[in-house]
């Protein structure tokens, strides 16, 4: 019977473990190589984003993408069939605002084409993913007690987002005429927001900021302050959660991760 000393056992064990490690690091027949699976001693080549410049065309394409976000949201809202009863008149307003956004999209894409860019003709994919799709899902949830009201709440938030976006690009656009064109549309978005605010909180009491005494939270106001805000826009939607609260999304104007760069397409 062979007998191994403790030292010999440790030595053999070390050799075995090294073999297993080397086998794991080596190429294996029939296994496709992936840059995502790194091996010891092999540094994967980094795959960065395409080089992109943030210029007037990109900023205007981004504005156009928001217009399509609004168009698509109004279409979706109208398709939900929630504008009934007390909200029947809201369907007319929604159609009017959607048509205004179509006009804005055409105007902005006209500027894009004039600058030699490719017009952007669909909703901003990033904003769709993080804001609009989740919001519409919350609204359409069967447990939601007031989808009609939530549609107006979402529309109001999107109009504020559009108004803020145009205001925010004023300092970024290099051409003065483009700044004026942006704000010509931006002030129309602000008017949309004011009218929808009045639909949510009507009359004199809904014009200036006020606090809901029952909840301690600010009420919707047609005119939120002396200067156009550039702050996140909270929007609370959907059915109540188990703890009685509802989901709140914070909408923010597009930034580096949501601009409609030249390489972003609608296909």
């Amino acid at each position: 019977m062979n007998r191994y000393s403790r030292r010999q056992m440790l030595r053999l064990g070390g050799v075995g473990a090294a073999g297993v490690l080397l086998a794991a690091c080596g190429k294996q027949a029939g296994v496709e190589e992936s840059k995502n699976i790194s091996a010891v001693g092999v540094v994967p080549e980094p795959e960065g984003l395409p080089t992109a410049e943030v210029n007037d065309v990109v900023l205007l394409r981004t504005a156009a993408s928001l217009e399509f976000n609004a168009i698509e949201t109004y279409d979706a809202a109208l398709g939900l069939g929630v504008f009934t009863g007390a909200f029947a008149a809201a369907a007319d307003i929604a159609e009017r605002l959607r048509d205004d956004h179509r006009g804005h999209a055409d105007a902005v894409n006209g500027l894009v084409a004039k600058l030699g860019g490719e017009p952007f003709t669909c909703g901003n994919p990033r904003l769709n993913e993080v804001y609009i799709a989740p919001a519409l899902a919350l609204i359409a949830d069967e447990a939601n007690e007031n989808p009609s009201l939530d549609v107006v709440v979402l529309a109001h938030a999107l109009e504020n987002l559009a108004a803020q976006t145009y205001q925010s690009v004023v300092t970024m656009l290099s051409d003065k005429a483009l700044r004026q064109a942006a704000m010509t549309i931006g002030q129309e978005e602000a008017r949309h927001a004011a009218v929808l605010a009045q639909a949510l909180n009507p009359g004199l009491a809904g014009v200036l900021p006020s606090i809901d005494e029952a909840t301690g939270k600010p009420k919707v106001a047609a005119v939120p302050g002396a200067f156009g805000p550039l702050t996140p826009i909270p929007v609370t939607l959907g059915a109540k959660n188990a703890d009685g609260s509802r989901t709140t999304l914070n909408l923010e104007t597009p930034s580096l991760n949501s601009l409609a760069y030249d390489y972003v397409t609608c296909s």
Binding site: A52, V54, N55, I93, R96, D100, A163, Q167, V170, T171, M172, S174, K176, A177, R179, Q180, M183, T184, G186, Q187, E188, A190, R191, H192, A193, A194, V195, Q198, L204, A205, V207, L208, A222, V223, P224, G225, A226, F227, G228, L230, S255, L256
Partner: protein
């Protein structure tokens, strides 16, 4: 990669003259709202809104003065005040709301014109933030005055120009 114009540019000398004019026009609006709020036709809730809009125009004038410093006169533009003063009177609340809406739309058009003229982005950013609110003023006044929805959205007012009014 960063967003362009991370550092706003200050007003040029011609910018300062235009922003000073905007300061004077805002003070004219402030005084017209003071006149309206003092009219007995309006109740307490209406006065609250009118005083709120008065305060917004005052804040706009102060911000513009802060940006241009000594270039600001901090005196109201009498031509603007005189053009609207006769309409902000009496007991016809709808007519007064219409006059104030026309005033707001005139200021929005004026500020839009400035945004297309100003070289420095500090000035254009401030004016953009002011006109965004004044567009909301106009929309709210259309609704308070019982006007059609389209009147809240449209603005046919011509812009003021410094040479034409002073």
């Amino acid at each position: 990669m960063t967003l362009p114009a991370a550092s706003p540019t200050p007003p040029t000398a011609p910018d300062r003259a235009l922003l000073a004019f905007a300061n004077s026009a805002e003070l004219a609006a402030r005084d017209l709202y003071a006149e309206a709020a003092a009219l007995p036709a309006f109740g307490a809730a209406e006065q609250t809104v009118l005083v709120g809009f008065h305060d917004h125009h005052l804040a706009a004038a102060q911000a513009l003065a802060g940006l241009v410093g000594k270039a600001a006169t901090n005196v109201r533009e009498d031509a603007v005040y005189d053009a609207f003063r006769g309409k902000v009177t009496g007991s016809d609340k709808s007519a007064i709301y219409d006059a104030l809406r026309e005033l707001e739309n005139t200021l929005v058009s004026t500020h839009l014109s400035l945004v297309g003229t100003l070289e420095g982005t500090e000035g254009s950013a401030l004016v953009a933030s002011i006109l965004s609110i004044q567009a909301r003023h106009a929309a709210a006044l259309a609704l308070l005055g019982g006007r059609a929805l389209a009147d809240a959205f449209t603005n046919a007012a011509a812009p003021l120009s410094p040479g034409a009014t002073s």
